[in-house]
Symmetry: C2
Subunit: 336 residues, 2 copies
Amino acid sequence: MAHGSGTGASLADVAKLAKVSTQTASRVANGSDAVRPDTRKRVLAAMAELGYRPSFAARSLRAGNYRSIGLSMSGDMSATGRRYQLEGITTAAARQGYAITLQQLADDAATLGEASRRMVSLPVDGQILYLGATPPDFATFEPPQALPTVIISTQHHPYCATISNDQMGCSVSIVDHFIQRGHREIRFVGGRRESYANISRQKGWEQALRMRGLHVVEPLHGDWTADSGYEIGMQLASDKSCTAIYASNDAIAVGIIYALRDAGLRVPQDVSVIGVDDSLVGLIPHLELSSYRFNDAQVGALAFDLATNPPEGKEPPHILVPGTLVERSTVALANR
Amino acid sequence: MAHGSGTGASLADVAKLAKVSTQTASRVANGSDAVRPDTRKRVLAAMAELGYRPSFAARSLRAGNYRSIGLSMSGDMSATGRRYQLEGITTAAARQGYAITLQQLADDAATLGEASRRMVSLPVDGQILYLGATPPDFATFEPPQALPTVIISTQHHPYCATISNDQMGCSVSIVDHFIQRGHREIRFVGGRRESYANISRQKGWEQALRMRGLHVVEPLHGDWTADSGYEIGMQLASDKSCTAIYASNDAIAVGIIYALRDAGLRVPQDVSVIGVDDSLVGLIPHLELSSYRFNDAQVGALAFDLATNPPEGKEPPHILVPGTLVERSTVALANR
DNA sequence: TGAGAGAATGTTAACGTTAACATTCTCTCA
DNA sequence: TGAGAGAATGTTAACGTTAACATTCTCTCA
C-alpha cells in the first residue's frame, strides 16, 4: 500500500520486476553511476510500469531532515506586505531546494503556542511564525527545543529570533526627507489607532520630531481608507501652517491629496505628502505619489535564513529590515 | 540523531527515561486513555525533559499518507486573484487538518512536468499546479499515476482535473448588465493583448455581443495601468456613440473615468463603466466603481477538494467558477 | 482468599529507504 | 589461461513509529 492514490509501488516491487536487488533499484533512483546501462534501463522501465514514487517518509526517516521549513500564518494572507514576505520566503526556499509547509490558522487559534504545537509534528526542519503583529501569548511563548523558531515581529523576544520591517525607520526616513526640504511642521495622519502599524509609525514620527527638536502637533487618524483621508485632508486644507503630511498608508495619502486639491491647494507646491506601502503604482492616473516602500522580500528571505541556519549565540537576534523612500512628485521644498 | 536541530529524542529515549515500553510512550503521545494517570505523567515529564518531537517521517511511513497537499506556483504569487486563490486553498486545507507544501518554481523551470517531477518526492497526497495561464507543456503533460493532480487552468486537460475563474462568464455578466440597462454599443478596453486574461475576456465579450445580436466595435487595448486607461478614455470621449465601457481591469477603468470627466462627460450619466477584479475598494476617494469580482477563494477551496478527493469517472472534470458583478455607482441607464 | 475479568503494559514486526559492508562479475594483462 | 583489480550488484541493519497480539497487573466479588 502506498501513499497518495493508494496503488503505489515500493522499491522492492520495482526491484522484483527488474530482477535486481532493492539497493540497485535505490541506486538508479538516486542517479548513482555505479550501475550498468542495461541494468539501469531495466530498472527505469520497471519504475515507469509501476508508477513508482519514492517515499518521502522513508527517505527522511533515514536522512534525519526534511529540507522544508514550516510557515504558520493567520488572518488575511493577502494583505499588503504579507504576501510579498511570503513570496520572499518561498523564493529563498526554492533557491536552497527547500519546500515550504504552510499552515493557516483560524483567527481564534492564532497563538504562537498553538501554531508551534501543530507544526512540531509536520515535516519541517525549522519554523517561521507569522501571525498578527503581537499574538496574545507573545510574552510567554517558549519555542520547542527541537525546532529552530523565527517570529516575524517588530518586538524583541527572549528565546526566538525575530525579524520585521523597520516601522520606526520608516517614520524617521519620512520625517528627515521633509526636514531636508525645509519643512518644519510635519503632520502625521494615522490609520486605525489600535493597529500595530499605526502605533509604531506614530511613535517613530514623534521620536524623530523630538530628536530633531521640532514641534509635535496632535496627530489625526483615519481608518486606512481614501475616503477617511479625504475628510482629514479637508480639515488640514484650512490649516495654513501645514506644509508637510506623513500619511500612514497610500490610500489615506490619496484621499488627502484629492481633498487638498479640491480645496484649491496645490500638491506638492503648497503641501507635500508622503504615503506608505508604495501600493498604488499604475493604479491612479497622473498621480506620482512619493511613498515609503518596505523591503518585504528581504524580510521573508532573512526569516528563511534564520530558520535554516539558526545563529549560535546566547541572545536571539532581532532584525529590523529597512525599506526605501521612493521619491516621486508629491514632495517639494517648503515655501513658507 | 533527530530531525531539525539535531538533538531530538525518539520515543525509545522517552520510554527509557520514563521506565516504560515505547508502546506506552506512543500511547501517551497519541492521547490513548488506556494509560494510568501516574504513568502518563511520568511519560509526559520525560517528553518535556528531552524535548521530544514526534517523527513525522516515521508516522507517515506507517500511516501511508501525509495529510498534506502540494502546491506549485511560479511567477508573481502576489498578483491579484492569485493570492486569494492561495488563501482559499490554505483555508480549505486548515479546515480538514491538512498542511500545504508550497513549492515556488523559477520562471524558467515553470513547466507542469518539472513542477510535478519535484513534487512527487515531497510529502504530499495530491498536488495542485498553479503556474501561468497556459504552461508550455500543457498539452503534453502526463500526471504521475501515484499523485492526484489538479491544474488551475481555464483550459480542459485530457488527464487532469482543471479549475479556474470563469473568464468568459465574467464578460457575459458585464455585457448582459449593460444590455439590461439599455446599452447597445458596448466597448471593450483590454489589457496587454497577449495576456491570457485579456484574450479570454475579449473572446467572451465578442461572443456575448454576437449572441445578443449586437454590433462588435473594434476593441482598444491598454497595458493594465490607469495611465493607459486615461489615454484610451480621451479617445472614447470624442466618440458620441459610446455609452458603455467594459474595462478589463479596475486600473484601466479608473483611467477611463478620469479622462471622461476631464473631457466634460459625466460617469455614469453619460457613459457607464465596469471594471474587473474589484481591487479598488477604499483606495480612491469618492469613486464607487462597479466591478466584476472573481470568486478566488472558492476556486482555491475546490482545487483543494479535487486534490484530496479525486473524482472517479473516466473524464477529468473541468470546473469554471463564476464570480459576481458588484454593482456600485458607475453604471446608469442608457440615455440615448 | 482466590478466581476471573478487564485494565494496563509489553513484545514483535513492519512501513520503505539507504549506508556500510559483502559478494560476485567482468575485464585486463602477464 | 588465470590471477588480480575494480566495477557491479547484493545483504544486512537501522531510522522511529504503531497495529496486533501477548503478558502482567489490579480490582471485584463470591
